[in-house]
Amino acid sequence: MEHALEMRGIVKIYTETGLRANDGVDLTLNKGQILCLAGENGAGKTTLMKVLYGLEKPDAGTISVMGKPVSITSPLQANRLGIGMVHQHFMLVDDFTVAQNVTLGKEPLKGRFSYDLKGADEAVDAVIRRHRFSIDATKRVGSLTVGQKQQVEIVKMLYRDVDILILDEPTAVLTEQEIESLFITLRALAEHGTSLILITHKLHEITAISDRVAIMRQGAMVGDFPTDSVDGKQISRLMMGQSVSLVVDRLPYTPVQHPVLRFDNVSVLKRNQQRPLLDGVSFAARSGEILGFAGVGGNGLGVLEAVLGGFLPISSGAIVHKDEDISRLDSHALRKRGLAYVPADRLQVGSALKATVSENLIVDARNEFTRHGVMQRKKIEAHTQSLLKTYSVKGSPSMPIGTLSGGNIQKVILAREITQYQDYIVFSEPTWGLDIASSRFVYERMVQLRDEGAAVLLISSNLDEILAVSDRVIVMYRGTIVAVLEAEELRQVTKEDMGAYMLGLRQQEAPHG
């Protein structure tokens, strides 16, 4: 069979960092094949695809498309060669309609200069119908759902007649149903002869959709198999370089009973709203335990995070830390008292993307690094270097943190917050979007903190994570606590039981946390 695509010996070195993102990578793709390109965060998958799409210039290597050697220097040229890419972050103009977005750069003309708006609607509508998408060509993109926006991105590439379609982590932002319908679309495309490359690090997606799986680690291709000839364990081992499990070594849980942080009947009611966001929530976080908060989105986990972080004032009740009422304190005051907090939104809340790694690390402790009001470069440098080493962050102190991968950004935030912590620490969705190795790293740190006697509060919508690391679990439903699970009960609880609590089908009598 003729290869749709053949990449040989691709090398890409980022000059600013000296990082060898691709180190002699080979990749072939057959016509009508669905290939999953798997690997941890920072393995070089996205770089390889950017080289293919003309967004990055390789330092060495050759590419041939449909048997002909080519050099791809821009996305426009990639499109001409029949290569299209759907980026992880949408490249859509919200103010334009679907048709205007799809035709951007390749607009149908009326006469010599005039944009044929109607012609665009018709042409795009034809593509939409041919592939049975469910979007309206004349709708404003800003009014679409995330799943529909992704369809627009795919239509954009199909309008350009691509034979090879690259999708960078297409499922990251989709709901279960949207993923299901995306997969149906992708299979139909493959049947029509389109070759697909999906970048992903989710094992179950690889087995669900792909014909072939190629695995990268640290810039190199480490495996390439027909999907039905490998199992998840093998793929995972190749991605990681070793076999892993979610279970973390830890000391047995000895309920040390001194509460560090206590919520007494805390409610949050916003003006003009009937139903409180938090409704009479009481619990105590004790030293030496990981207290997990589980719940379905919209049931109070996010509100709890905002209250703990000091962003959202409470309407009634009290929050007590070391016998002092801290209900009225804002973030700044709370942090002065030792609040350590790893927020769910690590890009907007947790870090300043344009600031350097160093600056992000010391932002909260400036006074320790100044003498007579002047920053002490050497001291900051040494501090940063030692933290980067301890937390095995791939990056240098002077890089803007936004240029790091998601996992490495999270490690920097962890480093800062763990340095800041005194007796309690809040983690909200700490492993969201992270690969297995980075997640494991986070869990190990959490357990380490707990073993040192910290009160660890873990807010997470990931049930596996909650059950794997928590010593006690509080389940939230519609802003109230519906269940508290610990010891034997927690060890025996099934996911079905948890689901029943989280969906409000079942409730403990007078749960007390």
Binding site: P75, A78, E107, S114
Partner: protein
């Protein structure tokens, strides 16, 4: 209708024209995603070069054309430094303003030995246009006829501007550049190309706005634009970044100016107060506008 109102409105239409012209070009740079504060300098460049070249060539059309070229050259330098040498647009545009302000005075001194007002007696009046069909309409006719050609040219250009922005591929790409630059890059288009053209367009229309000021007066006065380029920026925002909005916003300022001119003659109030009217007006308009938009956003 009040007999005073018609002359005031008539002069408002004339006064708004340089603002409308400058804001049109500024709209292009604004929509491409850049705050172009050099409108003032570009206008001044066009104002000076147009009248000087008209004086030396003896031909007003050639003079205006060369004036437009001079302003576009400054815009091209601004575009190159900003887009290709990646300097901050705010700083370079500020430099362009200072440069234009200084250069015009220096050249005026070199050429005419005068750092102040230079009067050109050899320059004919700007041609005026009387459209008989318009003249027959009561009130409306009285307000809109008998203006110089720049006034009518600005309306034609405004229509052209709207067509380019909303009915051509170029317009869509320009706006896409301003809204989501990466979307353009991902489709293989260069945002800097569209921004550069936007700079040139702003040089073009600002020069026309400036040319109208000097040619109408038959003289060059140092810093004759006196903040009109800055007010044109306000016009863009007040006009909600839409071509038709520019027309209304410019008219509002034209009226404020015309009114203060009238009041100076008619009322017994210190001139300084009256001359401040347009600026007070700008301030009030901006405050009202920001209240309006924040209300609107809250509803959404």
């Amino acid at each position: 209708m009040n007999p005073v109102a018609i002359p005031v409105l008539h002069s408002a239409v004339a006064i708004m024209t340089p603002l409308l012209l400058a804001s049109m070009g500024g709209l292009f740079t604004e929509l491409s995603g850049m705050l172009n504060i050099a409108l003032e300098g570009l206008m001044l460049m066009g104002a000076f070069a147009s009248i000087v070249f008209t004086h030396f060539t003896g031909n007003m059309v050639v003079g205006i054309a060369l004036g437009v070229l001079a302003s576009m050259l400054l815009a091209a330098i601004l575009g190159t430094v900003t887009l290709h040498l990646k300097s901050n647009v705010f700083i370079t545009a500020l430099a362009a303003n200072l440069f234009a302000s200084g250069l015009t005075v220096v050249l005026s001194f070199k050429l005419f030995g005068n750092k102040g007002v230079v009067v050109f007696n050899d320059i004919g009046r700007l041609p005026r246009l009387d459209i008989p069909a318009l003249a027959k309409i009561p009130v409306f006719g009285d307000i809109f006829i008998g203006h110089n050609i720049f006034v009518y040219l600005s309306w034609v250009l405004l229509a052209l501007c709207a067509w380019v922005l909303y009915r051509t591929p170029f317009g869509f790409r320009l706006r896409a550049t301003g809204i989501h630059e990466q979307a353009m890059v991902s489709l293989g288009m260069r945002p800097s190309r569209y921004r550069f053209i936007a700079f040139l367009v702003s040089g073009f229309t600002c020069a026309l706005g400036g040319a109208m000021l000097t040619l109408n007066l038959g003289a060059f006065v140092p810093n004759i634009t006196s903040g009109k380029g800055w007010i044109a920026l306000v016009v863009i925002f007040l006009g909600q970044k839409k071509p038709i909005g520019l027309l209304f916003a410019a008219l509002v300022f034209g009226f404020a100016d015309a009114f203060s001119n009238y009041a100076q003659g008619a009322w017994n109030v210190p001139a300084d107060f009256i001359l401040a009217i347009p600026y007070v007006f700008t301030l009030v308009a901006m405050v009202l506008f920001s209240i309006y938009t924040s209300r609107k956003n809250r509803v959404e």
